[in-house]
Amino acid sequence: MEGAALLGRLSWQLADVVDAIAETARVKTLALDVPGWQGHRTGQHVDVRLTAEDGYQVERSYSIASPPNGTTIELTVERLDDGEVSPYLTDELRAGDRLELRGPVGGYFVWEPALGGPVLLVGGGSGIVPLMAMIRERARAGVDVDMRLLFSSRSWDGVIYRDELERLSGNGLTIVHTLTRSQPSGWTGYARRVDREMLAEIGPAAGTSPHVYVCGPTPFVEAVATALVDLGHEPRHIKTERFGPTGG
């Protein structure tokens, strides 16, 4: 929902946790009701803040997984074993709890149907989250923009949103997986890290000036962005979102 743009200091607010849904063994989606939420653009994120009883606070950023939908937003969180925030969000937080957040933020890493295509999305692991919001928005808007997703995961069981991606593919949306650590028997797809050759095979060609969005761990993003520039893509058409090591 596009509203009038509002100026104002971003403020922390309390969201209600409505549901917590397991996506994979280590990944959970939190459905939140955010009073007064006025919509967002797909690709944006929220900052989340946790406060312990003694006042200790930590902040992390999480991409919004859902397209605008009233006051409901979804965050998809991967549990990092030595993380400080993600285990709380995936293991402890439950329906009825409240979560402090502010947003939406980030106008740079954003796609909307009005931008058109072609679009190339390259995601590594939980880097799929903001890209999924874009994919869902495309479906919600009913446009057939040429959009291609190259999604790198460690294993088939670990592919986040696997079934939904399969359902949504077609009608201009192409989904390509690469599984880097283990593959199911009979797998004929890519089985290695994203590289220049793979990107060249998937396209779209640099000459079509696609909008490119790359999201995932910093080393993944660096390698993919470098390969895309090698293939002739304009650096200013490549938008990146790196998840640093503090993203736990």
């Binding site: 200091r9 971003l10 990146t240 640093g244 090591p245």
Partner: protein, 95 residues
Amino acid sequence: MDSLMLDGNAIAGLLQEVFVVEMTSAIGTCDSCGASEPIGAVRVFRGAGVVLRCPHCGDVLAKIVRREEQACVDLSGFRALEGASRAGLHGRADR
């Protein structure tokens, strides 16, 4: 390449808190090498405070230190900073 490095987009919330408007689409010009990039594409490092560095030459564009009710901001590494817009903002006014 440094695995600690983030993009300007990662500190979108901090920037909006400090500057009030959405900053990640603003275009900054590096005073050292003259390159121009959206803030969302500059390099971000978290030390004692936040440091923005030019993705081309690596020099410091800005430093931000947050304390409770204030921020100390040095933008002297920018030769120019323009285009901060309301267009990217779908937030809430403070209540």
